[in-house]
Symmetry: C2
Subunit: 457 residues, 2 copies
Amino acid sequence: MSKETIPYKIYLEESEMPKQWYNVRADMKKKPSPLLNPGTGQPCTAEELSHVFCDELVKQELNETDPYIDIPSEILSFYKMYRPSPLVRAYCLEKKLGTPAKIYYKFEGNNTSGSHKLNSAIAQAYYAKKQGLKGVTTETGAGQWGTALSMACSYFDLDCKVYMVKVSYEQKPFRREVMRTYGASVTPSPSMTTEVGRKILAEFPDTNGSLGCAISEAVEAATTHEGYRYVLGSVLSQVLLHQSVIGLETKIALDKYGIKPDIIIGCAGGGSNLGGLISPFMGEKLRGEADYRIIAVEPASCPSFTRGTYAYDFCDTGKVCPLQKMYTLGSGFMPSPNHAGGLRYHGMSAVLSELYDQGLMEARSVEQTAVFEAAEQFARVEGILPAPESSHAIRAAIDEAIKCRETGEEKTIVFGLTGTGYFDMYAYAAYNDGKMSDYIPTDEEIAKSIAQLPKIG
Amino acid sequence: MSKETIPYKIYLEESEMPKQWYNVRADMKKKPSPLLNPGTGQPCTAEELSHVFCDELVKQELNETDPYIDIPSEILSFYKMYRPSPLVRAYCLEKKLGTPAKIYYKFEGNNTSGSHKLNSAIAQAYYAKKQGLKGVTTETGAGQWGTALSMACSYFDLDCKVYMVKVSYEQKPFRREVMRTYGASVTPSPSMTTEVGRKILAEFPDTNGSLGCAISEAVEAATTHEGYRYVLGSVLSQVLLHQSVIGLETKIALDKYGIKPDIIIGCAGGGSNLGGLISPFMGEKLRGEADYRIIAVEPASCPSFTRGTYAYDFCDTGKVCPLQKMYTLGSGFMPSPNHAGGLRYHGMSAVLSELYDQGLMEARSVEQTAVFEAAEQFARVEGILPAPESSHAIRAAIDEAIKCRETGEEKTIVFGLTGTGYFDMYAYAAYNDGKMSDYIPTDEEIAKSIAQLPKIG
């Protein structure tokens, strides 16, 4: 079709929506390294994992061979409530930048959780319900994942216990109230409700909490309560599987209009959005059918791809979870408190880590004032106030579009706009008041944290 | 088409989107009464109004004859950034209620302003820019209108001065920051920056402010600054004209699937959403082509339709604006501070007031705990956290659907879901904590306020 026929927003018809998730591991010749039992150092068995995760999700976690997995009809029905998400042509941003580049973004923020996290939350809640569980436990940092899981559990009438990083619990009371409105119980972490929480509080009574610590508490709560399992919003391969719906919809929409992207950009914390967005494109790349530049964008204050090391590490501070081989800054790494958004996880999805290690994608880090500059510019012309996390991708997309302006190249850029920033206004206020600063960890800080990695693998 | 082919969400194609607004006054045999000059008691002339409003908007305000007015292409382009809004079939809510009714809602919350207000904000900003103005002034209460106007002004590079009701300014710092991110200046009202503000502060130094007072300040600021005009987000006939895009899209979507609504429901504060949603349906009703039950839903704490009187009144506390004939509780009426949402305006659109007076629509009032019960129920099954304002319409829609369950009637109900509640979490927190109460003004309170009406008309 001609350029003129491309609408501002491409919405798929319900009949065009994906009916299967895509499992990129099936097309990887060299697979990600297996999860290891921290006690034995041996690959985790399905039986071991099933104490922590739902049975069906364990199968998905370990499934490296099936390229397509049917999306159950109950999940498809839920997806229809807020999906398809629009693929938006950023005509106004292009004009503002004066670039010949064509910029598209897949916008996942049009749901109450405010982000793409709902795509996996509903799947994980569904499998928990199907297994006859009473409820699930999880952690949340910025609160997007906790909100998404609360919504999903409310829909399937499951109990939902959320451990919310203490500093977020206090700074984001509105996020907490959204979760409560959806019937979740929200506990600031570290808390006195778990062994690991009590231990951390004894050692660091004034701690603000961390994601790694909240994970430990949620896992403990799941394994010590009858009828509960733990669920996680990123990092795991099952989460990337569910999030492939983002990339699949994007690809169907692009194909419908005969558009072939040159560059695909996503922000990367644990990797759920990036992994989901790129998966079908990476599949083509792995099968030698097409080539794309794929760029992961991470914060300069928590640079696991660009300054971390590829090694086995703990997924959580409490060291109760399986070990995963990944790009990591060390499970003891703490991003500076001045870092605003999410994307503060010390590690990275095993799938993405392996793909990055094989040279199939690039990574870059960006500083936060530059990220908020991009966010403001985007908000003012595209009418969407982006989440700080998503704004990392906006920064890189703008930078690439500016390069096109300089070279005259009409590249097609697709980026993931994972969510909205309505619950991140403290960070925007700091930026508006000129009080936002940048922080880049020193080589010594990173080396010190990496020196603590477990001696395995 | 058969029932099975109706998707969860109906999105129009860009080519199906309305290219003209619909002016319901053209089809009214008895027109709304004219705005009066408070000094002379005579109908305001275009020349008088042009000191306050942009010239083109004055024309629209006074235009009672043209049924259709072209939407300028610049506004159509902006509409494409966030419109069409989806018409959603509430399959999950129907199931939860066990009702044979078919429920649809037109969802206007998928934009950063979080509500339908953007539809008129962009139009008013456009005409201000076209007239070569430097900027515009306005008031905002809950903050939806101020946010919408900030976005619109940012898009057209216009200065935007927002007077924000003091209590909201303090309780909704996030709303304030969104406006600042879009480049607006936000002043808590009453302020020392205007004559009327200083006067009110001298008399009531501890006042929390009110919408009527913020309007007075914004009007004064517009008329005392060179190159500025005042813009208003509701009540005015021009605003209902712009908001007709909601009803037109709704009607096109329903017609496409051969659906004829029996009942159309909207919340009513100043009337912008309700007036916009119902306009094409009311047009058919006025022309004798179809019949619909149309229900305005207002808060029991600010019941202008159901307990007010139809008379000329001041639109603002400072009494600087033209007089309008409307259903009113008196410009001195103050809703109880325990009232959570917007919808706190003492009066009502002149167009809707006249239609209501002619018996062409119904009105009912609902109490706020019942409204939040409906909001929670809706959020949990439909996945959207609604604004308190919108939840008034949800309450009435659920009540009508429950009646259908009792009678077995398969009625088709359409309601306006004007926005999201992300910036209203204090109210949700009060509800979650069981601390929300209801307040209904006494007959004496209302009589006392109405006794102060000007002796005109």
